[in-house]
Symmetry: C2
Subunit: 406 residues, 2 copies
């Protein structure tokens, strides 16, 4: 008998018929002799519906009240699933955050889980009940309702699995697992059987949307075994786990892309000590995160060129700020480019294998794709390229590194 | 400066535009120097939408889970109203039941409020905040979410007003107050300026839908002054308060009707001691409430005829049960009639004035309306008549007792 936490996303409970399918899967797991705890997201589209109600009122809804509003989406899902299971003869109880004390900090809209009381859940499991928990939400120390940010239900599920010391946390989604690349971009994409927490973290932060980054951090910290799989099939998906020796043999696990970034360039910046610092200080003070930075100086002219990337959502704010500071510093001009993509290769094998970077660069060069910026970490290499080459870059890198082979 | 509790029903917050109107009214009250606590129902139609989702799954949804589901309706309303008020520059905080500990018993779907912690609300009022509370819901001692039954937000508002020792509880609705009769039935219906708790209780239980009965019981018990008024106009409505001496001068305050009852008759029941008891015991055991009863015995024949009314919702169940018991007791037949109406006259003045009953009977007789059953209390007289005469009866009684005059 195992204790299994199952998490179902919004598309898996999008309508009553799908809720019935989810219930059938839960019952199957239960009948195999397991204790089952289920974490559910809001029905697909519901969170957006609620947000648009708030946006009818104002562009900047009060954050506490917005969390109060959108947390109802998950409450509806858990109640419907519990009604379904009970009607099928399987006693089930749904819980929202305050009932099992999912305590978070007080950062509305992006709260972090601090603590979960496992007692009530374990009690009901011992009474042979199926326990259903609303994902995405928590309460702060003042009992205010908080939410964990988009995809937060993944984190809820992993945190609950950690608190209950569950044997496994199954994340059911609309894809069959983690792939070497986006199957919508390249049909040769291969499902990975296993991936390490670290690779998953890089892939998630580099654009793979299968798991919320924080859920992977949580799983890594508490050693929670995650099984990412499809709620529409019975096939095994991808296991996310501790790095194993065998994993190092695979140099590259996947190639990801994101088009969420924009590039800002400052041309002919007088090259004095501290000018870059002045710019990035101003940006950091506004809470804007800068991803990649390149600075090129010319000894001859006394000018430097500076380029960096930020998320597209922050572009306007950053551009305005940069123009102000650049003007003061006497720079010639500030330009920007939204048509860029970040292509990244990820693999723990990079730690012990060299040559990945040069192979990546030469592969892109062979296709005539110019690399605008580069950044690397121990287990990943990212390149900024013109967005129109995204698919071409993905396909050629996937082929060059033979990712279709297991 | 007064402490005012305002309750807005579902039609008052049916869409964002109406939420804006409600916010404007709250702000006006606040700007007049008052402390304002607002209780809100679900947006019109929302509770029904949620119930129909549950009914897609099963005809008998688990009661705990149904309350978990439908309580989200009020949570959405309070959050939207708080977002609106904050966006208009008035700091407001919304609360659901667990946050201010609206403790109820554990009867899901029809819970009764036991206790409300006033501390947190009073604290926020002292900080000059507008406090918004979700109506209709509570939590039991185990932190399960409960609901108070249809119209329960009225009771939430009155209970909160009692807990806070508020100066007045304003119930905003889509009618302008309590009328001498339903204005849709008779255009001469007159709005009452004042009505006693007891009259209001009778009128509510006899078909006037302005206030939930339990809210009036609560108000009476704790002496909460209620002001029933329209959210679409600024006119004063009806004050519900302790009986005053002046009220006794008015013999009849209103005439109400309900078509919710059905009549069951048992013909030729062998007239032995205890036969009626056997029938009503069986019915009571199923939790069915019998309203009026008439028994006519004939010494000559040794048979009795028995008739009684129950709510239409209970008709089928009661009929089946009655037929079983009647058969055992050797009765000839059981018949029923759904086409009946109960017409009631209510007034605290009846205590000191006689002749109301005879005037009522003769008025109906003059119109050729047959009275099938009669029941009376200290301050009301009810008659069961053929439903098709409902409007005629209302109009002629309203005229006969000159209710259009103040």
């Amino acid at each position: 008998m195992a204790l299994i936490v199952q998490k179902y996303g919004g598309t898996s409970v999008a309508n009553i018929e799908r809720v019935r399918n989810v219930a059938a899967r839960i019952i199957k797991t239960k009948n195999e002799g397991n204790k089952v705890v289920v974490v559910v997201s809001a029905m697909a589209g519901e969170t957006d519906r609620l947000i648009s109600l708030a946006k009818e009122i104002t562009d900047k809804p009060n954050e506490r009240e917005l969390d109060m509003l959108i947390s109802t989406g998950e409450q509806v899902s858990v109640a419907l699933l519990a009604i379904m299971l009970n009607s099928m003869g399987y006693p089930a109880l749904s819980y929202v955050a305050h009932q099992i004390k999912i305590i978070t900090d007080d950062k509305f809209g992006r709260a972090r889980i601090r603590e979960i009381e496992s007692e009530r859940i374990l009690e009901e499991l011992d009474k042979d009940k199926i326990v259903i928990v609303a994902g995405f939400q928590g309460i702060d120390s003042q009992n205010n309702i908080t939410t964990l940010g988009r995809g937060g239900s993944d984190t809820s599920a992993v945190a609950i699995a950690a608190a209950l010391k569950a044997d496994i946390c199954e994340i059911y989604t609309d894809v069959e697992g983690v792939f070497t690349t986006d199957p919508n971009i390249y049909s040769k994409a291969r499902k990975l059987d296993k991936i390490s927490y670290e690779e998953m973290l890089e892939m998630a932060s580099l654009g793979a949307k299968v798991l919320q980054i924080r859920s992977v951090e949580f799983a890594k910290k508490y050693g929670v075994l995650i099984h990412v799989r499809s709620s529409f099939s019975d096939k095994p998906g991808t296991i996310v786990c501790e790095e194993e020796i065998s994993m190092e043999k695979v140099v590259v696990s996947g190639v990801t892309y994101t088009k969420n970034d924009a590039r800002i360039a400052i041309n002919k910046l007088p090259d004095k000590p501290g000018v870059a610092a002045k710019i990035f200080d101003a940006i950091a003070k506004k809470g804007i995160i800068v991803d990649m930075i390149i600075q090129t100086s010319s000894m001859d002219t006394g000018y430097a060129n500076l380029a960096f990337t930020v998320s597209k959502a922050d572009l306007n704010k950053t551009l305005e700020l940069t123009k102000q500071v650049a003007k003061k510093l006497g720079a010639k001009e500030v330009t920007y480019d939204e048509n860029i993509a970040k292509i990244s290769m990820v693999g723990v094998g990079m730690r012990s294998h060299s040559g990945v970077a040069s192979k990546m660069f030469s592969t892109l060069a062979k296709e005539g794709i110019n690399i605008q910026m580069i950044s690397t970490s121990e287990i990943k290499i990212s390149c900024i390229i013109d967005a129109k080459y995204t698919e071409l870059a993905i396909r050629s890198l996937h082929d060059a590194f033979e990712l279709e082979k297991g």
